[in-house]
Amino acid sequence: MTLTQEAPAAGGAEEAVEPFPVTIIVRRFDPETMEEPVWQDFDVQMYPTDRILDALHQIKWEQDGTLAFRRSCAHGICGSDAMRINGRNRLACKTLIKDLDISQPIYVEAIKGLPLEKDLIVDMEPFFESFREVQPFLQASKPAEKGKERVQSVAERARFDDTTKCILCAACTSSCPVFWTDGQYFGPAAIVNAHRFIFDSRDDQAEVRLDILNDQEGVWRCRTTFNCTEACPRGIQVTKAIAEVKQAVLRGRA
């Protein structure tokens, strides 16, 4: 049974899968000519294994060269192409056509809460500013032993493993209802990156970061909506990390 099915599939590869039409509705904005963003329809030919990023490429390369969006690696590592796809923050390069309901048009728009620059591009500077404020770098009080690295046990490394996965795509921060209405809030991504060093046994400045986050606009703004956890393309348990930082603030140490 398996053999007879495999034989024709391997022989006639060209008749195997046909592309099918998919309607993509992109929320477009040109700051030079528009007051408000508008929705624009595009019809593209897609395979089930294509991604939303491939659809955007097809639009930009074959239909409308003025479409503006960011992407760099196109493989879910650089974190450039976070956007709102059918109302949820996703990476365009990790969202497959077959995982979406294509009997309906697919809505693509920029992430929310950051200043819109053009089409799908937002100004990421407020996001990175919050990131820098939590001091996301190793600060050890003593230099490492001469000729040695700083020793860390498996358990100590595992303590913050989840939050090392962040790629700073802003999908979490721009999915947060608190961040939409209060741009001063540090946001999930900054807290995740603070968590990564607060719970690092080699770092000695956890108290400083906890003090920064024990602010009016710090961890206490979190309302545990779990939008960030659901949006994270790296599967980081963002709300859990924020809860751990909250508890560390209450204890006064990591």
Partner: protein
Amino acid sequence: MTVESGGAVKAPPIETPKRGLRAPAGTLYRGTEGMWSWVLHRITGTAIYFFLLVHILDTALIRVSPEAYNAVISAYQTEIMGLGEVALVGAIVFHAFNGLRIILIDFWGWATQHHRLMFWIVVGLWVVTMLAFTPRHLINVFSH
């Protein structure tokens, strides 16, 4: 990657971004149970706040005069107010159970992984509580 079928490989003419204009509004963010429980928590919390405001005022009337207090309280003894009390108790019960859920999420790692299950437990507890309260209360309201 695409366009091999149909022969028309030529790119369609570039169209102005005016085609297919729609209402210029973003889509509603499609959060999961976590987001909707937060929305409900906000709505019930705000509603309870305004109830308490009125409630403290009418209770404070007893300091003004017992007659004024009685007059105001008797104005509440209507069927419409009785139904409003069902809504009030419903809001308080949800806010209370969901508040316990939020406390558990903040202090218990397991709960952050199972917050959706816990939301449906909250809904279940709410239904049970309201099933117990509503018939008893409505009998009182409509039997005098």
